[in-house]
Symmetry: D2
Subunit: 301 residues, 4 copies
């Protein structure tokens, strides 16, 4: 359970009192506000605030004075046009702020996306909680033999158990020692900024993370992808659901053009054009390397 | 008048219908939403949307679960601490979106601030309006003789009148010709993306401009400064008022530490320390150049 | 001619004296350094400095200690892999700095690319030169009737001549008045920061512009595209040539995957898959709008 | 020792062969290129590449055609002027790329500076080395009792020994288990992207980090400061030395205005002005809080 009763109460409290606003509101996103989604074994994801909706994207693209009286079908067409032609600035006009609790090794992947604002819980000031990510058995996989960075077969039986035991025991012991080093029980107690270095990278941290919709889509395209590490993908997939509720038209365009879309190189395009004309094209004729041809065939047969 | 009756009606309409939201709201900012402030002769500035308030800054700094029950004095102290120690990320958690109508030469200064999102009215798609900035007589100044980039004495009498006539006539004639080149009255009509090049840089353009509070403060420190060009400063000063209404605690800290604060070099600090000990320090002893000493004396006597 | 004899001499001088360096060098780029390429009627583009080469991209991707002994074919394969899978950070490890002289309306499009460093000639401090962009007759086109923002048929005969005369006369007159307003011949002379507003947007400005290779590729993909306005495209096309000379492997990958590549939406991909199976797919069956189908057919027949 | 003999040989090799270039070179920086500075117990810092020198800053500020014939005293004055008046863009025209080996908990502080380019060694692809940061006894400090995030008294005797033993033993054991989980000795072997989570945050990682001079100065002002954590400060201090060798004029200005300079709030400025007039000002009269007054007195007595 990622929340204490006090935290759950604070969240419930925050959802009780609507206030009037003149701003654009998204009904789908209002339903999401503050709600804690549990991710992994102790993680969470929740929306803290948002700015804008589908109409705000169109309004900015048109630099208009009002919200306009355009039909939803006009807005859908405009949004699809903007997405198709990489007109990214109107999507930057929406903003979202998340509260995320996540393992440190996931946080280190996440932070590579630099066009975002971040406030992380400080282990220089504060003492971390005794919470670690331990994979569920169905996520305990071997190194892939075909992909240098991915996962392959599941670990099973004794090997799986041994791994889980090691992860759990090492985390517990490291945390015991972290607490022991901090302890002032008859001692000076090691500075927090030093003691934290003993903790493993599956320790949970948390942060506020804020970004605009264009950069969120970029994050989701890379992190909700099947090649992303499972432990970050589960956050991205939940964010996809939330984004769909927030800006359904923009999310629909994103899904069609980015998530479900593909990029063809000039060479790949030519192969398809020749196939459409009825020719048989081999790897040798394609100009692609073996690895690239394998990727191409996985997509196109 | 920067607004047509239709635009004024759209704005009035947008202010009639509050909707309930669970987000943080700022009463001062709700009063500002959509309202068009007239700037210069045809410009305007208005808030289109905002995210966050003073409490949101503290909440992010604490990475907390709820809005907390902290007293306002605690929040004020925390915000002043964050500002004093250049902890900028909590201020990035607030966001604001403006609609601005401004002369092109002002837009060119403004856009140098890159950490913002912008959608500008497109003169490739659309035809610009016949609106130019003509300075009021009290802003018609000569080149400064002490400052390479500033203004000096006012122009007066015939010289002032001649300048105003030239600006007005050239703008009008350029716009007549812009319209003439676009005209399809028996002609093909020049492409908009080409015809626009005939317009002068005091032509008004407009954009949606969105930024976070930290970067807004950076913009305001440079552009609400007395060294900023008058025509951008009037926008910045109105934004200062709006920001004060939005996040009064953060604005108060900004005013004390940035707008009203000064930076002392190591050399300047040493001069002050020696003066406080009763010594008389001359420019030669200070290590400062003459220009720098002049700036120092203007501040400290 | 974009250069005065003094400027040409300064450039020639800069190319006479090689100095030894231990840094990575690119022979193709050394040949480009400082050389002024003439663009449009008075514009120019030249490389002022650069950092890195193809090997530097691989070295960063491998976080290696030395330049390595990898074969060029290994580097080509790695670079193509990185480009194909959107691993953009290794490309960010190369940097380039240009000196550009360009019309103001082009500068305003260019500056929308925010991830770059810019120093522009200041018309607050300095007086601008009497130089304007006047299109060559073969670039004087009418508004497109099929594309809201593009160009259509060429203007011809009297209409073309009338447009060229208007552009030239208005620019000349505006510049005469600019000079006249600045003049201190028995007058105070209007401040430069004000007088500049009388100049048209085809006035030439200049700047130093620095960016990394990843962001340069992004710029080139949008601005060397056939949909980009001609007056910015000619700069982008010259930058493509320069980039090919600088980092031939990276440019080759960019050309295959980005410049010559296409993005397929999920819907478009499905249409192609069905066609490859021998089905006939109509717009109605495709899920695409008419406009989108037209774009799809232009690409795929 | 942070380098293997092979790595040391690669670095020595890279320093043997100067190549001619027409670019600006910095003799101080050429002497630094590739040289590995040892930091902490297993860390390192070295310059991989650089772009620009002091003259390049001035050249960009002047948007000039050549390197100019300006005297060094002119350049010094211009650079000091730019720094004093926060004209940051000319400093952005210089760029530097470092190779850094550093503990993960330091990397996590470092990466908060977002305006930089980073390529980190991937623990999804590769296996990490058995190297951890263990503080030297003289850096083993207790939590500060006056500063919520700093260090206080040194730990001594048994307490110090106990901490060192825990850090070393836990790191060793975690690494043994990391290797054990990866092992395919009769097993499938856990995926690298999972096994890494068992490692503590004092594990060393490494990256290529590239930034411009303006953002480097910003980093150094915060991280070479006495309030920065010791383990990142030692990197920043070495970078200060390197930067002084690279751009001595710019570094001199940075040292005077930023590193050695102070920011005075409007309130603090007023207190100093009153003191200079001979008045005695107390905390109550100053408008400052107790904490702020304490900081003020530490600086000004």
């Amino acid at each position: 359970m990622p929340l204490t009763p006090e935290q759950a109460a604070e969240i419930a409290e925050a959802r009780t009192t609507p206030r009037p606003t003149l701003r654009a509101t998204s009904p789908g996103m209002e339903a999401e506000l503050y709600v804690a989604h549990e991710i992994l074994d102790h993680g969470l994801l929740r929306v803290i605030d948002y700015m804008g909706d589908d109409a705000a994207i169109c309004q900015a693209a048109r630099v208009s004075y009002g919200r306009g009286t355009k039909a939803v079908t006009d807005d859908r067409g405009l949004i699809r046009y903007l997405m198709r032609h990489w007109h990214s600035t109107p999507f930057e006009m929406c903003e979202v702020k998340f509260h995320v609790k996540l393992p440190v090794f996931v946080a280190r992947q996440w932070i590579r996306h630099r066009t975002a604002n971040v406030n992380e819980y400080s282990a220089r000031y504060s003492i971390l909680d005794r919470e670690f990510y331990i994979p569920a058995p169905e996520n305990l996989a071997a190194q892939s033999v075909v992909n240098n960075q991915g996962r392959g077969e599941l670990l099973e039986g004794d090997e799986a158990q041994r791994v889980l035991d090691l992860l759990r025991d090492d985390a517990m012991r490291s945390f015991d020692h972290y607490e022991g080093m901090l302890s002032q029980d008859g001692q000076k107690g090691l500075a927090r900024e030093l003691a934290r270095m003993n903790l493993p990278m599956n320790t949970y941290t948390q942060w506020y993370w804020k970004t605009d919709l264009h950069n969120l889509f970029h994050f989701l395209r890379l992190r909700a992808d099947t090649h992303a590490q499972y432990e970050i993908r589960v956050y991205a997939e939940k964010m996809c659901e939330i984004t769909r509720a927030w800006v359904p038209l923009a999310y629909g365009a994103f899904e069609d053009y980015r998530l479900g879309g593909v990029n063809l190189s000039a060479r790949a395009k030519e192969v398809l054009q020749r196939r459409l004309r009825g020719e048989v094209v081999t790897q040798e004729m394609s100009g692609m390397s073996k690895g690239e041809w394998r990727e191409f065939q996985a997509e196109w047969g």
